[in-house]
């Protein structure tokens, strides 16, 4: 379960918990140890102190000499460390031994060891550790002040005891401490493990819920998850929603496209049948012309559908490149100007004023798609323009907003689109009920898709006195 690369959340959590518990254990161990040492030190230092005090009590002057009537009780106290050896020495103020052992070690640095138990009001009494007779020994030097007629000064009592019992007590206390803490650490570990298992359960659940789904099930995930996982579930749900939406659109498009193809085909067939059975040569000629017209129409629809499929594919696969909008607009205008003239409509390009010949307006775009868009819009404008009218194509810079934009507008003098229909004209296969002209209903929809793909904005405005203005504004690239 614990992956060495640390990719598993569970593994990382367990590793971190273990690390933490290890550190906690070490800290506990050291704390228990030092606590044990300290407690044992205090306890046995007290014993040494009370033994020294008892010895001090037994010091007196007799017949002009310092006499020490060594008390049994002092050694009884020290016997509470049953296996420790004791060394003692009592000296007068000149350092002359009164009684006891001959050469006991002295403290090199007279540092005031262990203030917490130094005999009170005896600033010159101190503990120190030294080695004597091959064993570590804890010594106490304790001063007693004698003020007698013929002696005035300190008597120094030095008592040392080996540290067997001290260390045994220290070890016992530390061991008890560790024993006390160890169950807590173990229980803590188990609880953390349970916690991790409990925490990771929703992730596993989510995983199972997703993997057990069929490919067609795009419904929302409805599982109770922790707050941290909610954004993930929301993203998944959002993504699923989009996917479902796209699928629905595709389905609708397919069925509409099928419908749009089937209807003209049926009409074509009946016209052709009529022509077959028609005996009047003139009528049959007219009927056949209509068949050809219908074929053109169908051809146009199929072309548009293919175009849309091509564009969809391009949008997914092609990167936007830098293109010159001025040049492109002029090219498209030139392409459509002939077919416009056949319908006795002129096309005027007004970009020259704003953009000198050498000046360019660069935008990020897909040239093929943009050409298609502009052609569709122009063809639409030409189709609805009355004879001898002019369709005006213009380019203008807009500096109003912080980012420089360029607006491409196409104005015609046709019948225009009523406001109520404006939102719908970009829908696929939308045909206005009072539109007498033939059309695929795809041209503007494609234009709109291209505009959306380029992040540009498109608006429809009424022209005066009649007609429509299509305004498309692109974000201009910095020169």
């Amino acid at each position: 379960m614990i992956s060495p690369s640390g990719k598993s959340i569970r593994g990382q959590l367990i590793l971190m918990t273990l690390l933490l518990l290890c550190i906690a254990s070490f800290i506990t161990f050291f704390l228990a140890n030092s606590y044990g040492q300290r407690s044992a030190q205090i306890s046995y230092d007290r014993l040494l102190t009370s033994a020294a005090i008892q010895v001090a009590e037994s010091i007196s002057m007799k017949e002009g000499r310092i006499t020490v009537d060594l008390p049994w009780s002092a050694f009884e106290i020290l016997s509470s460390a049953p296996n420790d050896r004791v060394f003692y020495q009592i000296k007068d103020k000149t350092g002359q031994k009164i009684t006891g052992y001959d050469a006991l070690p002295t403290s090199k640095d007279k540092r005031q060891r262990a203030n917490f138990d130094a005999p009170q009001h005896k600033p010159d009494s101190y503990f120190f550790d030294a080695s004597y007779d091959g064993e570590p020994v804890r010594f106490l030097v304790y001063k007693k002040r004698l003020t007698e007629a013929n002696y005035s000064g300190d008597v120094s009592i030095q008592i040392g005891q080996t540290v067997i019992a001290r260390e045994a007590l220290a070890n016992e206390i530390s061991w008890r401490g560790i024993q006390l803490v160890f169950p807590f650490i173990s229980v803590g570990f188990i609880l953390v493990m349970l916690g991790i298992w409990q925490l990771l359960k929703p992730i596993n659940k989510l995983n199972r819920a997703l993997s057990s789904r069929t490919g067609f099930d795009l419904s929302k995930i409805d599982l109770p998850v922790p707050t941290e996982l909610e954004p993930l579930v929301q993203s998944i749900n959002h993504f699923m929603g989009q996917l479902e939406n796209n699928l629905n659109q595709l389905q609708r498009f397919t069925s509409e496209a099928a419908h749009q193809l089937r209807t003209p085909l049926a009409g074509l067939k009946s016209q052709a049948q009529n022509a077959v059975s028609e005996e009047d040569e003139d009528v049959r000629h007219k009927q056949l012309l209509r068949v050809i017209e219908s074929c053109d129409m169908l051809n146009h629809t199929v072309t548009q559908l293919l175009m849309q499929a091509t564009l969809s594919h391009r949008f997914q696969s092609q990167q936007l490149t830098q293109i010159d909008l001025v040049k492109m607009t002029k090219t498209v205008c030139k392409q459509v100007v002939v077919s416009a003239l056949q319908q006795e409509v002129e096309i005027a390009f007004e970009g020259e004023k704003a953009f000198a010949k050498e000046q360019q307006a660069h935008i990020l775009g897909d040239e093929f798609a943009l050409e298609q868009m502009l052609r569709n819009i122009l063809e639409n404008a030409i189709k609805y323009s009355p004879a001898h009218s002019v369709v005006v194509v213009s380019l203008a810079k807009i500096d109003a907003s912080s980012t420089p934009k360029i607006a491409l507008s196409v104005q015609d003098k046709g019948i225009g689109i009523p406001d109520s229909e404006k939102p719908h004209v970009f829908e696929r296969f939308y045909r206005s009920a009072n539109n007498p002209r033939s059309g695929t209903g795809l041209g503007l929809a494609i234009a709109k898709e291209v505009v959306d793909h380029h992040g540009a904005s498109l608006e429809l405005v009424d022209n005066a006195p009649t007609g429509l203005i299509v305004n498309i504004s692109f974000e201009l690239l910095e020169p």
Binding site: V68, D69, W72, A74
Partner: protein
């Protein structure tokens, strides 16, 4: 254990055969091992134990040297006993001092572990006898003087009362150890001085009645048997018991207020040349067999409670009194080895007992 020991000794034989060759003038066989014991016990008393040991381990020869307990201590400190493998003494205080000063080596075995806590200090020194201090008196002397009220000497207080009532008859007829010279005497007396409130009165009474001082239990018992003294105080029960067998006029009691028991102790010096042999000896000493030999042939009360009970039940029940307390081996005994403390105790003693002039009116 015994298998191990015999195997061990076989090993020792081959191992030490070469080393002992030139040294062993005494023994014919070069394979004999020599264990040197230095002690304060009377040679005749302790010999049966060594004989039993040598019977048990025929390859070992024990060489025993008897010294006074204080002499033993001083010679040991002077380094003159460096060849000793085992040191035994009844002067518990001096033995403890030697152990405290790091002269003993530790030994742990089944036998040492079976000892009571107060008979083992640091696994370095072990008590092997248990001998109560008793009050003995000459029954003949007391019956001859019919005017003397039949004595009831069950406690120190009763003894003092008896002495007080028969004061004029008992002058010069009380004996005890010369504590300045006898280690056990010093030990017992110092212990009395710490333990009992009657100590002062005993000292005073002894001073008034010109107490006689003896250098050993045997000397004191002889004086008692001969009628030189009527009462002997702080005598070792083991000696009293064996003397009472031969001299029926000697009777003894365990004081009912409290009875002190001392131990003879043994330790293996760090310098012991033959420490392994010494350990074998210690185990034997503390074993059932060794303890029985002590009881039956040496008239010493063994430390092993069971052996002691079996042995004493027939004549003298130590456990019945219930007031017998051993002087435990431990740090407290160190006090008695302090030079100044010793001087204080001895000064007090001699000041009370040495009279300024004969026929003092004190009474």
């Amino acid at each position: 254990m015994i298998k191990f020991l015999s195997a061990f000794i076989l090993l020792m034989i081959s191992f030490t055969a070469l080393a002992n060759k030139q040294e062993n003038a005494l023994s014919e066989s070069a394979s004999k091992l020599i264990l040197k014991v230095k002690g304060a016990a009377d040679t005749p008393e302790i010999t049966p134990l060594f004989n039993a040991f040598m019977n048990r381990f025929p390859n070992i020869i024990v060489q025993y040297e008897e010294l006074g307990s204080r002499e033993l201590y001083q010679e040991f400190l002077a380094g003159e006993l460096a060849d000793a493998d085992v040191i035994t003494s009844s002067a518990m205080d001096l033995q403890i001092k030697l152990v405290n000063d790091g002269h003993a080596q530790a030994y742990r075995s089944e036998q040492t572990r079976s000892l009571p806590e107060w008979a083992n200090w640091r696994d370095e020194i072990f008590g092997f006898t248990y001998e109560p201090a008793v009050i003995a008196y000459n029954h003949d002397f007391i019956s001859r003087n019919s005017s003397i009220i039949a004595p009831s000497l069950q406690s120190r207080a009763q003894m003092l009362e008896f002495i007080r009532q028969n004061s004029h008859r008992l002058k010069g007829l009380i004996g005890t150890f010369d504590i300045g010279k006898v280690g056990i005497g010093y030990l017992l007396w110092a212990h009395d001085s710490q333990q009992s409130s009657s100590y002062g009165r005993v000292l005073e009474s002894f001073g008034i009645h010109d107490v006689r001082l003896y250098p050993s239990s045997a000397a004191m018992l002889k004086a008692l048997a001969d009628g030189e003294i009527a009462i002997a105080y702080n005598l070792l029960g083991s000696y009293a018991k064996s003397w009472a067998k031969t001299y029926p006029q000697i009777k003894f009691v365990l004081p009912k207020d409290y009875t002190v028991a001392i131990m003879r102790t043994a330790f293996i010096p760090k310098t012991a040349p033959n420490a392994k042999l010494a350990k074998v000896f210690l185990d034997f000493l503390l074993s059932q067999q060794g303890q029985q030999v002590l009881a039956q042939q040496s008239n010493l009360f063994p430390i092993n409670a069971k052996v002691r009970k079996d042995y004493l039940n027939t004549s003298f029940d130590l456990s019945d009194t219930g007031n017998t307390r051993p002087i435990a081996l431990g740090l407290k005994l160190l006090v008695l080895t302090d030079e100044m403390k010793r001087k204080i105790i001895l000064d007090e003693w001699s000041q009370a007992l040495i009279k300024p002039e004969k026929g003092s009116p004190l009474e």
